[in-house]
């Protein structure tokens, strides 16, 4: 029983790490650009598929390194051509445009790579259990959690220790003032969008190692990412991280006792947060 509980907590932690990685990217973009990026799941899928295509040439590690960067470049291009036109307009238009984009990306991946799921090979040594007692601790799972932790750490270092990060944080609070102080806000939002999409791409490469490739792989991850943001509090990146991990673990633990409620529990958590604390756990009062 303890093993089962441990297994599910750990599983929840992995899933929560995914949600957090997705949600952090969404949150970055939402905070600075005011756009809910519905196409985030699409970018995640592109990350996975690009890694699949690149792997024969650059290997598992190469794909892990290169694919998210390529996705980020696509993201930067998309921001330049499309997303940029949405700034300052009703959030309705941002939702609709990225919604259409999500359709196009899903259909595009299906067109290029086919509608069937594809297997994604991870190195055999990564896939074997680490200990015979805790059979569920395969190397890949531990590896994923570690990698997500490192990515989140690096992200927070960038935000707190570099000039770009300082500007992103300042822009979240008051973009106009940042602009007046001589920062090129267009470039800032562009890079920030790229950063957010990079996280989606990274989540994609990691996800396909566990779930396999499928054109709508992002679909099941995007809704929990929204909830992670709502639970954690809009406008707060640590909140988003906390929200993602919380709902992941909660659904993991629930699946031990009521397997069919493991999806429902995250919505219950969202409802509870909205009743008790509508701004979210770490959200600022009055921002939204």
């Amino acid at each position: 029983m303890t093993q089962l509980v441990l297994f599910n907590i750990f599983n929840g932690l992995i899933i929560g790490a995914f949600y957090a990685l997705m949600a952090l990217g969404l949150s970055l973009i939402l905070n600075l650009s005011g756009v809910i990026n519905f196409a985030h799941g699409g970018f995640l899928a592109i990350g996975g598929y690009l890694a699949f295509t690149l792997m024969p040439y650059v290997g598992f590690w190469g794909a892990l390194l290169v694919s998210p960067f390529l996705v980020a470049l696509i993201g930067i291009a998309v921001e330049r051509v499309l997303i940029r036109r949405l700034y300052g307009r009703d959030p309705l238009y941002g939702l609709l445009l990225t919604f259409g984009l999500a359709f196009i990306i899903e259909d595009g991946t299906r067109f290029i790579w086919g509608a069937q799921s594809l297997p994604y090979q991870i190195p055999a040594w990564l896939n074997s259990p680490l200990s015979s007692e805790f059979f569920f601790l395969t190397g890949y799972r531990v590896f994923m959690v570690v990698l997500v932790a490192v990515a989140v750490l690096v992200l927070f270092l960038i935000l707190n220790r570099t000039r770009l990060g300082l500007r992103i944080r300042a822009g979240t609070l008051d973009l106009e003032t940042v602009s007046v102080l001589g920062v090129n806000v267009r470039v800032l939002r562009n890079l920030n969008f790229g950063l957010g999409i990079y996280l989606a791409g990274l989540a994609g490469v990691l996800a396909v190692g566990m779930l396999g490739l499928h054109p709508n792989i992002g679909d099941n991850l995007i809704m929990p990412s929204f909830i992670a943001i709502i639970v954690g509090g809009l406008g707060s990146l640590p909140g988003t991280l906390l929200g993602g991990l919380l709902i992941g673990v909660a659904s993991g633990v629930t699946s031990v006792f009521f397997p069919s409620a493991s999806e429902a529990v995250i919505y219950v958590m969202m409802a509870a947060v909205l009743i008790v604390r509508p701004r979210g756990l770490l959200g600022e009062e009055g921002r939204f």
Partner: protein, 316 residues
Amino acid sequence: MDRLNARAGDIAVWLLLLTAPFWLPRVGSYVELGTHVVIIALAAMALNVLLGYTGVLSFGHAAYFGLGAYGTALTIKYIYPSTPLALLAGIAIGTIAAAAIGPLIARLRGVYFAMCTIAFGQVFYYIAFQWSSVTGGDDGLTAWHRMPIDLGFAELDILNDNKAFYYAALAVFAACTAAMAFLLRSPFGRTLLAIRENERRARFLGIPVDRHIWMSWVISCFFVSVAGGLFALLNDFVDPRALRWDQSGEFVIMAVLGGMRSFWGPLIGAAVFVVLQDYLSSATENWMSFIGLVFVLVVLFFPRGVLGLIRRRLAS
């Protein structure tokens, strides 16, 4: 002049709708497509009570559309085979769910409101998807069909006569749009407009804004569940896609495409969208890309919609 134009517009809309079963086959279409348009238009117009007239962005209306559909279908299949009764049950289920969720989101605004409506909408999708012993899960709810309506003096065979079903649906549509027009013209409707235009000022005038948004939300979801029930009857089938977030997005794009600042706008948007979808899904395998492209193009070049554009032309 403006009022005259509006009156002429109303007459034109009703003339087109009333004669649709006769001219649709002549232009190479079919009656069921007309019924489809009327039903989806009702959903888009219902959404527009919230979106265009209250200025609140809901991206989760498919949930209540789907609940109306499932409520109707489940009633006919398991409880009692009567079309009007089933429709009422579907409407009740959709409206009660909306009324219960309303207080949680009525305090929120803008992007936050949109995100929460999307997320709550997904709850019902998962329920319909996973509770397959009752709902049929991913395969949808089959093995039931709409029942002829007994009017007392005559029987309306909506099951086999597609024109009869069209007119039955149009009658419901007419009742609903009349009710919506009445509500929007009433002091209550004006209050919603005031909230849309300047929420802070409305608050200072002593209007309980959150309660009005909740009411507008429930009213909007009520009419959307009527449309959902009719939709189930039209297809004699429901599946979880009726509840999914793509369906919500489609309602929003229809309202925007037609013009969300006008009463009939969503009807035009729905007609264009449904006909386009019908054509594309039979013409190409990649219809999803084209639908996505419609979304992108509307946002970039057509944000005021068809009627907004016409109105601007007339004004200049």
